[in-house]
Chain length 500, copies 2
């Protein structure tokens, strides 16, 4: 094999993989957005065949020899090519350890399990989802054992979603958060309460959609390449490359803020993905480098920018224009307070910034227990409810508002949740650095995301997956990660809102 | 190779092809329904790779040897397997004659051309679409010459969409239609006119959507497996198998009948596809056998059933319930007359049954001229407008309402249009036979499509592509095709409506 042919083949391989990735992401997106309810088995048929093809393509002699040849000659490769080879080989080494039939069966399970979760959530019927969830946890343990027999299975998955983390680092991180957040929540509860009346009421879905579509370009999204759909649970997905990005939301008539902030959150993911350098398209370097960094961008947009005083001041006139009756008598300050009200609640995605990480911590603790065998899937609902009572003093009325609320476990994302809290904490540290050169409030008051987007593009987005998460953090923080920034940020917000 | 292995491989090959077909149909469907406007190039990237893979899979030594082996042993195969081998080899023989790079380039052209058409139609800007359309006609001529150098290229494509037809049969068929339809249209014009006031006005889209969703189960569609979306131009597509079917419509606020009858039309296509026997799923026998038979089912639903007196009587109370203000003072008979008003018009898909086939004939004549080199693509708009004036005495105000109105040419469907008129004529002959055993009016008055669907399933749907179009026609007509049935049917309708 000669090097220049091999380099060409490296690009062709990724071209092909991106097409399969496009098809599989689109099958899944279609299943969540548009597909008739009875078509999951039909989608699973195609998904099974594609995952078999992907498995064979990845682990086939030709691919392995190509990548091993390139790896052996890496000093002759560009930085980008080196990273491509590294990431491709990493995936292949994983696949090689999984028997093909189990690999394919898992991909089909994902389709069917998501479908079962959707119905179970709507009927608040955990029992109908339980067999899928059992298979899912069982699978994650089995696959982790295949991939890294020397590692604890949960540590394996934590490290897959956010390289470098483990139960030990998460225990320390959540311990540090809990220590300052629990007293902070209590302190807020002692103070005169803030009202969220202005965001509750009756907000027709078509007007909420108008708001969402108005927000997208405000955030700096290029709507020629980023689409909006509705789903049970909001998410973001790239189809084939960062040139076609889709975000989703869910409109609740009774609360104007849910969809609005989910659009800003998913918009943050989409900004990160679509911010990849153009020449990364159709390669494994396209899009974000880890889920923690991804969530740092979405949570930064949603909370640090989206729930700021300056942005609330900018956005309120538009909301009043769309909902003149509902907003009668309210000011932008009422809106600011409403969307920042600190109040333990049932639903993670609707939680305020201060209680949010405790929702994440509960999921982390439960995953940890099920993965270690301490807790049975069957007992998850009761354990969930008990933890919400103990941690947030919240009574969970039913599983729809409890253990069934998130879609993640249904598609196998076990070990993902900590990324949300880590990402939030990363974002607060980025903020401190960004403030040194960017007048954020001045920009937000004009509804101009440009300067912040430019900073994020420069330090984070453009690299796609070329840099490791650790390199991105170093790039953007210029110092070691310190959750203290996040806790300081939250305390300062509470001081302002509750006069603590 | 032993026979039982080969038979197993035949099914595996089709499984794989159905997955690729699923992905490519979904890419195209997504492009038409949901995708952001700037993403065509990204879709074309995946489409190009998949068509290259499909080409290689189909024309590869392994596949060709397998099918030739099975073909050589066909007496040992079931009727289904024989037909599978025949259809697969037919496609492969075609592909083998097309150079792979041209095959792949064509698939990409389709994506980009559809995108260009969409923008061109909206801006009524033929010039921006012209280069794509030129390439498209040029391609259809070139590919036909590769495939069948001995045939006229237009005859080749006519025969692809409806096996057995040619310019000679179409000339005779349209001649026969024109001879009786032109005087019929003139006769209607001489009589007191019918008003369509009740279907014109302001009909909010959400209410029209409600009507569409109500109609789908009425037609007998299983909405667990048939979805509805909106597109610029209505169509029907199968994703992977008949177990996931999508129909689309377009809501025009000013006319309640457009979307309603497009849903019934596309619903007819979907009934045919989803009516395939279960065990045809994921094989080349799944879904309809030709475009002519397909259009017979859609046009039968839309017109013969959908615009019948009995069905209008059944459906009118629902329309009045959804649009009480707009329908005030009107009766079901007004509605029946409005949706059957004979009136030369601009848009094919909005045309009444009597003028409809003349719209089709115009497209046929123009395609024939461009394919033979008599007419340049550049001169299509002028030729279109002249033919509308000569045939229907209609002045075309702009290309949006003229040559750009249909999407078909943009995706290469040149030679498709005659299927619409042929299908309409087939349907009238089916009707005559169906009436011998089914009390259609009695069923329609109750909104019950069951007996007619059962007849169509028994004679047409269940076979998928197992039977040839000629066999299906024989099955359903029990006699040679005779366009006289269609003309008799139209004349009888005009007698009733215009007292001719």
């Amino acid at each position: 094999m000669d090097l220049s042919t091999a380099r060409k083949q490296l690009m062709e391989l990724q071209d092909k993989m991106s097409a399969y990735g496009h098809a599989m992401a689109l099958l899944s997106y279609d299943g969540e957005t548009t597909a008739p309810r009875g078509t999951a088995a039909n989608r699973a048929h195609a998904m099974g065949i594609f995952s078999e093809i992907m498995y064979t393509l990845s682990t086939g002699k030709e691919t392995v020899e190509l990548l091993e040849f390139l790896d052996a000659n890496k000093e002759a490769l560009t930085q980008k090519e080196q990273r491509m080879v590294y990431l491709l080989l990493k995936d292949i080494r994983f696949m090689q350890k999984i028997p093909m039939d189990e690999y394919v069966a898992y991909e089909k399970l994902v389709v069917e399990s998501q479908d079962a979760w959707f119905a179970a959530k709507n009927n608040s019927d955990f029992a109908s989802f339980e067999p899928y969830l059992e298979k899912m946890f069982e699978n994650r343990i089995r696959f982790a054992r295949y991939a890294a027999p020397e590692m604890d299975p949960y540590d394996y998955w934590l490290n897959e979603y956010e390289p470098g983390i483990s139960r030990a680092t998460c225990d320390a991180f959540f311990g540090q958060l809990k220590e300052r957040l629990v007293p902070l929540i209590h302190a807020c509860a002692q103070r005169p309460q803030v009202s969220d009346a202005c965001i509750k009421g009756d907000f027709p879905e078509d007007k909420q959609e108008e708001l969402a579509l108005w927000l997208m370009p405000v955030l700096g999204l290029d709507t020629d390449h980023v689409g909006l759909s509705t789903t049970e649970h909001p998410f973001t997905t790239s189809l084939g490359s960062h040139l076609d990005e889709r975000i989703t939301t869910h409109y609740y008539r009774e609360d104007v803020s849910y969809s609005m902030f989910s659009v800003i959150h998913e918009g943050g993911h989409a900004l990160y993905d679509t911010g990849s350098d153009e020449d990364l398209a159709y390669t494994v370097l396209d899009g974000g480098t880890s889920m923690g960094i991804h969530e740092s961008q979405s949570r930064f947009c949603e909370n640090i920018l989206g729930r700021s005083k300056a942005f609330c001041r900018f956005v309120f006139p538009k909301i009043r224009e769309l909902f003149p009756q509902q907003m009668k008598g309210y000011t932008w300050e009422d809106f600011y307070k409403a969307v920042n009200r600190v109040q333990p609640s049932l639903i993670r995605t609707e939680a305020d910034e201060v209680t949010y990480s405790l929702h994440v911590m509960i999921r982390y603790e439960l995953e940890k227990q099920v993965m270690s065998g301490q807790l049975k899937v069957h007992d998850l609902p009761a354990a969930w409810n008990k933890m919400y009572k103990d941690t947030l003093d919240i009574d969970v009325p039913d599983d729809k508002h409890g253990v069934l609320q998130d879609s993640h476990w249904s598609f196998g994302a076990i070990g993902y949740f900590p990324s949300y809290a880590l990402g939030s904490a990363y974002g607060a540290q980025f903020l401190a650095r960004m403030k040194e050169t960017v007048d954020i409030d001045a920009a937000l008051e004009k509804g101009d995301f440009g300067p912040m987007n430019a900073w994020n593009r420069e330090h984070i987005w453009r690299f796609g997956s070329l840099l490791t998460p650790a390199q991105v953090l170093e790039n953007a923080m210029g110092a070691p990660f310190d959750p203290g920034y996040y806790l300081d940020y939250l305390e300062e917000k509470c001081r302002d809102l509750y006069g603590i």
